[in-house]
Symmetry: C2
Subunit: 231 residues, 2 copies
């Protein structure tokens, strides 16, 4: 499907038919998801594809059995895990060395990423990072964040959202509908997925073929001129 | 351009030529951006399109004059402003009434959104919200967040990221390249744009026609099988 047609067509659909989605469709959408840009290419995202019927029922319950979860053919939980920079770091170092990236890039992955993505036991690094940033920032522009665990979670959530957008568009391009749900019980889902406490549930995505009354009506957006400011 | 081709083609490009981007290209990409799904359709995003040469120079400086900012034909600052739910709320109430959405939906916009998106002076509502959520959550699934200002910022940042992804894909589909930059001085940019202190700079997007050495090499992703977990 053409790109702008895909964007135009994507709506949050709240009711799905019982039609089964071929696995290959979801796999293709997941491949598109991970091509999203992300913070320093650390790829701190995880996608839990809920296949077991009883787990699917549980996740729907943790989304308050809203129709977009209850009637969904498939559910995927998008997770941001800020400690997963460790999963990609050594491979990124090898990669940037292999492609002969500038020395600063290699240094960036070897030194700066481990420093930036660490908060230390009981977040002991955070006040030091904050003071350092503040003092240097008096004299010249500096990246103000991330310092705290929350800051690093925020960065990971942002990257995971970019991937999730690719995912829902990729499902639309293949003729299926989706609904991103922020209305869920993050704590209960975390327990079910056995997530570590620093990981964050970004959203649950329900998907399937649109059923009747999938939306309440046409799309509503405030005029673009109100959100775009030429300065 | 076809959707999957667009996703495949999009890379973070760090060096642009001097070619001018027609305004209509950026306008079209902004129209695609605001079609992104977002939290309760509150549309708490803003796009600052930096047109004045001296402001553009300043923003590039606040992105540490990295080549993706310094050589960019155009720069857009993506902002998440959690208080902007007020901008759309009354219109959303009118809209859901007009399309005869279920009563709960009207109630949701009339009562729940103002409650959810408020943190009160000195965040005085936050402990009450937190305790209420915690107690109810002992007995049944409940949305754990947002409670604090930071939580609500996080929700707004997530929505703005979804729009930003649409934007960069829309630029790619029209033959232009982009680079999302999280490396920037959020405080200095906030001062320049006169942002209120609760607003957050989500990213700066540099764009233009790709110049030579726009990337360090091919794209690198860890295998999708490591980030997708079938449960």
């Amino acid at each position: 499907m053409e790109f702008f047609e895909t964007v135009e067509k994507r709506r949050s659909i709240r009711r799905f038919t019982e039609e089964v989605i071929p696995e290959s469709v979801i796999e293709k959408a997941l491949e598109a998801a991970v091509l999203a840009p992300n913070s320093s290419n650390t790829q701190t995202w995880d996608f839990y594809w809920v296949r077991t019927p009883d787990k699917k029922k549980k996740i729907a319950e943790y989304c308050f059995n809203q129709s977009a979860a209850r009637t969904a053919s498939e559910l995927i939980v998008v997770v941001a895990n800020p400690k997963k920079w460790k999963r990609s770091n050594q491979r990124l170092i090898n990669f940037v060395k292999e492609v002969k990236a500038p020395k600063q890039v290699v240094m960036y992955y070897e030194k700066l990423i481990p420093f930036t993505y660490s908060w230390g036991p009981l977040q002991i690094f955070v006040p030091f990072k904050w003071i350092m940033t503040f003092v240097i920032g008096l004299f010249r522009p500096i990246t103000r964040r991330p310092n705290s665990k929350r800051d690093i979670q925020e960065v990971a959530i942002k990257s995971a959202a970019l991937a999730a957008e690719n995912f829902v568009l990729a499902m639309t391009a293949q003729g299926y509908s989706t609904c991103m749900m922020e209305g869920h019980d993050e704590w209960r889902i975390g327990c079910l997925l056995k997530l570590p406490c620093h990981a964050r549930v970004v959203m649950v995505i329900g998907m399937g073929k649109e059923a009747e009354r999938g939306t309440w009506g046409p799309r509503y957006r405030i005029p673009t001129s109100e959100v775009v400011h030429k300065i």
